[in-house]
Amino acid sequence: MAEFRLPANSRIRTGVTHQAPPGTREVRTFRIYRFDPASGENPRLDTFELDLAECGPMVLDALIRIKGSVDSSLTFRRSCREGICGSCAMNIDGVNRLACTTSLHDLGRQIRIYPLPHLPVVKDLVADLTQFYAQYASVKPWLQTQTPAPPDSERLQSKEEQEQIDRPAACILCACCSTACPSYWWNSDRYLGPAALLAAYRWIIDSRDEATGERLDALEDPFKLYRCHTIMNCTDVCPKDLNPAKAIAEIKKMLVQRQS
């Protein structure tokens, strides 16, 4: 059956509290999920009080501040700090989003930070994305053609054809969408999830690609595709304002249309 409760060794306990130094002007409280597999202990929720005046405006700035001056063992992924690498995706105040593009001023005085939901946790806020990447690879996210490339030019697209793939191709694979999807929580071993399906769609509608039929064949499956019940959590959380739910609906439509 689907698991509705965390296993005993994953249940979260109360951790340590790091109080803000006296004289702090603008205090924000961060309650952050901590888990160290090497310790053999259950995960805990640590509390960090931070002076907002001393750190940058985004959640990632606060995390870097905590790591730099309060607890250097706090572990998280980050790279570009401008919403294009997708590394710092995490669950902030119950919503999957990028720490680097989430402003502290849009959040309350208490901010809860957890790793992306329903994935194995490597350490603290770092989730294991191995399966997520494998599912992305399984949709063959590259151009497949039979026609040889023109010898002296690129494979051309019209402006309209490019516009078709423009938005879907902007996916940064942060995994916010897939890990916000209950169908993905219950059946991620077989359901590809919104991110991989958006990638599949991006290649299905690419005017230069010649494997459209094979791509649709590979998705025609009760689990790989049809676990999507269009609740649109994916579209709701996408930090790049993409629409995986619509892409999935379009794939379903194409599968019906090619039958009659």
Partner: protein, 128 residues
């Protein structure tokens, strides 16, 4: 523990080449149920009385019987498709899932057959 590659896991047993029919029929039956269920509800509400004789006379009318048959069959069909999705979503053991899917199909066919029989019996004058 499995040493299978992540890509191998993701590819699994490949695509079942199924699901389109299920998805499409679920939509078709849903659309059909909008007028059928509305008609059923309005008819019941508009009935002057709900005594045995009134209802038997109502079911005995040809169009009522035809629409009732369609309603019973479509509702059972739609429900079977829906319950199948719920079982596939939440029941993970392959054996348990297969047993529940079979049971659900049998029960829906049973419900549909009983409904059809009841309507026909009343409509065709077999009721005492």
């Amino acid at each position: 523990m499995s040493l299978r590659s992540p890509l191998g896991e993701a590819l699994g047993r490949g695509a079942a080449k199924a699901g389109v029919h299920h998805w499409w029929v679920q939509r078709l039956t849903a659309i059909a149920l909008v007028p059928l269920a509305s008609w059923f509800a309005v008819s019941l509400l508009a009935m002057p009385a709900h005594g045995y004789a009134t209802v038997v006379a109502w079911v005995g009318e040809p169009w009522t019987a035809v629409l009732l048959l369609l309603f019973v069959v479509t509702a059972a069909w739609h429900s079977q498709l829906g319950v199948r999705v719920v079982i596939e979503d939440y029941v993970h053991g392959c054996g348990m899932r297969t047993v529940l899917l079979a049971l659900s199909t049998y029960l829906h066919v049973l419900a549909a057959a009983a409904g059809v029989f009841a309507v026909l019996r009343v409509a065709l004058g077999g009721a005492a």
